[in-house]
């Protein structure tokens, strides 16, 4: 497959080889799955035609329920019916300022909080995976076969821990993940491609539990994120909670049971939604004690009690504009995303700040999933008429290391375009020092204690030298998903001691493998057959791609290399119809290896062509 993606137009796969690619918006309140069908992005509805999947998971007596089925039990079984799980992704119990808001039995585990449910202690990753599994099943049914690739969206302001947790959840749900995509960027793709937009746009994305603002430049099919900012714990939920508190105060209620609390939160949300269309909303409820509640919430009161939440969204907006070195007047349009942007006071505040009415012609619930579907379709290699576009995204928060005195040394500043690699050299501070502790952090603050700790590791085996003589090169690498990899090497003596870490908040590969094995054990899928089928697909792709590449650029390989490639090809063909998926995988890897340098040279040639051929044309128009 090494050469698959750089095929010339004539080598495009035949229509029947179209990949089943989906975009998934894993939201705090609602989730969606979308795909591109006949060139158009569409949301995949359930059998009753409902596009949204409420983001609820219930661990029932007999089975795991999700979406509307789980929703039906949220007041009767609140401790086993999990809502807004996204707010807990990648978070420890100590991170949650509002832990008491949730009716769950929390288990304080290192790294990430867990919840004790009827089905055992569950991590937010596992609970999210249950939701994703439901979305995958909907897609499999709707598309008529297994999913080849998925793009899952995350809030742009999600940090490393939250991103890794989301990716782990997707893997656990058996989704072949193509990319994590930032939600506002997904919306910009959907909006920008639809409207053939050019210029600088802002995407204001207020979801159920997270707020993002992204500033993008759209130019000749390139979506370039200039800056992003946000608050990963601010969303429509908080507006519900304000109304909830208002109800308690207005009705002078004593402390509530989990069921009553959930009931009033639902009533609060309904009132909030009503107020987007009406000037007042009635709140009627009967508590388990028999007490009846009857209140009227006016738009004026609602606007007043949520005023500082709206104001709170404007701070990240200012910071993002400042980072992009732009003024509100430089923004050509403000795209509104997320259900919470239906609230009139939010629209008013945005209009006032930017001096123009925001763009509200898109369905704020669906636009993220649609953009993700377009991206998934492209990444999976399905060709469409208007797929000549490129996305350049950024990391939202600075990445750095702890240095002497607990001070953060930034290695990669926020809003750097990804992928990115950056190295910095450090040295020892004691004579004969043979190990160095490396602490990786994320955040904007000077003091390490105020940043998020991502990983700690030790570089050992440094040869004893006087203080300051060793040269330790620490390399940070952020991939296109925004995920970080850190490596450290001792350079001074040529003794190479390298260690690479994935930040510690995620699950270890072993844990994921075990969870996957457990979930397969309960499923009807035959793991072997599935693995073999996948390996065969991959084998076919790489054979086709290699042959095509050799046909076009064959002169780039010498006889020796050609012999190695031919041998690897023959070996792969021999194993193609066997039953050993591991052997087949190994053969695919061997062919990959044999074609690695060839692929590099093809890339070089393609770059050279790009620079010599196209640039002149592009400049002319």
């Amino acid at each position: 497959m090494a050469l698959f993606q750089i095929c010339e137009p004539g080598e495009a796969p035949a229509p029947h080889q179209r990949k089943r690619a989906v975009g998934i918006d894993l939201g705090t309140t609602n989730s969606l799955v979308a795909t591109v069908r006949n060139g158009l992005a569409v949301v995949l509805p359930d059998s009753e035609g409902r596009p949204l999947v409420p983001s609820l998971v219930r661990y029932g007596e007999l089975a795991v329920e999700t979406g509307y089925a789980a929703m039906a039990h949220q007041t009767s079984d609140p401790q086993n019916t999990i809502v807004s799980i996204k707010r807990l992704m990648g978070r420890a119990l100590t991170d949650l300022a509002d832990a008491r808001r949730f009716p769950y039995r929390f288990v304080d585990t290192p790294g990430m909080v867990k919840i004790d449910t009827r089905a055992g202690v569950k991590s937010p990753v596992e609970i999210s995976a249950d939701l994703l599994r439901a979305l995958r099943e909907r897609a499999v049914e709707s598309l008529g076969g297994p999913i080849d690739g998925a793009v899952v969206t995350v809030p742009a302001y999600f940090d490393e821990a939250q991103r890794q947790a989301t990716k782990d959840a997707a893997m656990l749900a058996g989704l072949p993940i193509l990319r994590l995509l930032n939600e506002p960027t997904a919306a910009a793709i959907a909006y920008g491609l639809d409207n053939a937009s050019e210029g600088v746009y802002a995407v204001y994305d207020l979801g159920g539990g997270t707020f993002d603002i992204s500033i993008l430049r759209l130019s000749r099919g390139v979506f370039e994120v200039l800056a992003t900012n946000g608050d990963s714990a601010l969303g429509g939920d908080d507006f519900d909670h304000r109304v909830f508190c208002w109800i308690i105060e207005a009705a002078k209620l004593p402390p509530l049971s989990p069921s009553d609390a959930r009931l009033l939160l639902i009533k609060a949300r309904e009132a909030k939604e009503n107020l987007s269309e009406h000037d007042s909303a009635s709140i009627l409820a009967t508590l388990s004690s028999g007490q009846a509640i009857s209140l009227t919430l006016t738009k004026a009161i609602f606007t007043e009690i949520t005023g500082n939440l709206v104001a709170k969204t404007l701070q990240p907006v200012k910071r993002a504009l400042r980072d992009a070195q732009l003024q509100p007047a430089d923004i050509k349009g403000v795209v509104m995303v997320g259900g919470a942007t239906r609230m009139p006071q939010v629209r008013r505040a945005v209009a006032e700040y930017f001096g123009q009415p925001p763009l509200t012609n898109l369905n704020p619930d669906e636009v993220v999933a649609l953009g993700a579907a377009v991206q998934a379709n492209k990444l999976a290699g399905n060709r469409e008429r208007d797929d000549d576009w490129l996305l350049l995204d950024v990391i939202p928060l600075s990445l750095g290391l702890e240095t002497m005195g607990g001070i953060t040394e930034k290695i990669i500043p926020r809003n750097s375009t990804i992928p990115i690699a950056r190295a910095q050299e450090f040295t020892t501070y004691k004579d004969g020092q043979t190990a160095m502790a490396i602490h990786v952090v994320q955040g904007e603050r000077e003091k390490v204690a105020d940043c998020r700790s991502l990983a700690r590791f030790e570089l050992r085996g440094i040869p004893p030298m006087v203080a300051g003589a060793a040269r330790i090169r620490v390399t940070f690498q952020v991939d296109a998903d925004g995920l970080l990899d850190v490596a450290a090497t001792e350079l001074a003596t040529g003794v190479e001691a390298t260690i690479t870490v994935k930040p510690s908040y995620g699950l270890s590969d072993g844990e994921i493998a075990k969870m996957l094995a457990d979930s397969f054990a309960h499923a009807t899928d035959d793991m072997q057959a599935r693995a073999l089928a996948e390996a065969q697909v991959e084998a076919d792709q790489i054979v086709t791609a290699t042959e095509a590449a050799l046909a076009v650029d064959g002169e780039l390989v010498d006889a020796h290399e050609r012999a190695a490639i031919d041998a690897a090809l023959a070996n792969l063909r021999r194993l193609r119809d066997g039953i050993d998926h591991l052997a087949l995988r190994a053969a695919v890897e061997a062919l990959n290896h044999a074609t690695g340098e060839f692929a590099g040279r093809r890339m070089d040639r393609s770059v050279a062509r790009a620079l010599t051929g196209k640039r002149v044309d592009a400049l002319a128009d």
Binding site: R322, I420, A421, A599
Partner: protein
């Protein structure tokens, strides 16, 4: 793989000069990313994805270095074998230093008083002086090839840019 030994200017097909046409740079950058970005190789092998990631990161690094005048100037010195900022030799003209230290003090006072107007005016001054220096640098680099002269101005520009950055951060803190 793209040739990692090529310098940033070469990579974008630009002459190694301080004056850079931003529009041409932007266009070359986007064209290169279109060809090497990992999104093009999402269905590729791990090796292919690794190559794409490295190539794309290299292009991002080069673009960032050429886009920013301070970094571009430092890079130009570097390719001419002149070290712009060494730890042992940090000399700057006395008058320049005095002017900047005075600005820093004024900025610190204004920050303490929450005086946005003074901070904005100081920021404007620092940026204007930086812009003037860029003109001087263009002359030194592109017309006179006077790298020793350029070196001193690059230090001044680096200093001014850090000052502007700090004042900007102060303004941001007041605004937040």
């Amino acid at each position: 793989m793209i040739d990692f030994s090529r310098n940033h200017f070469d990579l974008f097909g630009l002459p190694p000069s301080f004056r850079v046409d931003g529009a041409v740079l932007d266009l070359a950058y986007r064209q290169l990313q279109t060809d090497v970005h990992p999104d093009r190789f999402a269905g590729g092998s791990d090796a292919q994805k690794r190559v794409a990631q490295q190539a794309s990161a290299r292009v991002n690094e080069a673009y960032r270095a050429l886009k920013n005048p301070v970094q571009r100037a430092q890079y130009l010195l570097q390719i001419h074998g002149v070290e712009a900022l060494s730890e042992t030799d940090t000399a700057l003209p006395r008058a320049f230093l005095e002017r900047q230290l005075e600005r820093r003090e004024q900025a610190a006072d204004a920050q303490a008083a929450g005086d946005v107007r003074t901070l904005s005016s100081l920021l404007g001054d620092a940026r204007a002086e930086g812009a003037a220096l860029e003109g001087v640098l263009a002359q030194a680099f592109d017309s006179e090839h006077a790298y020793a002269t350029a070196r001193m101005h690059v230090r001044e520009l680096t200093f001014l840019s850090k000052l502007a950055e700090d004042i900007d951060a102060m303004l941001a803190a007041i605004d937040a």
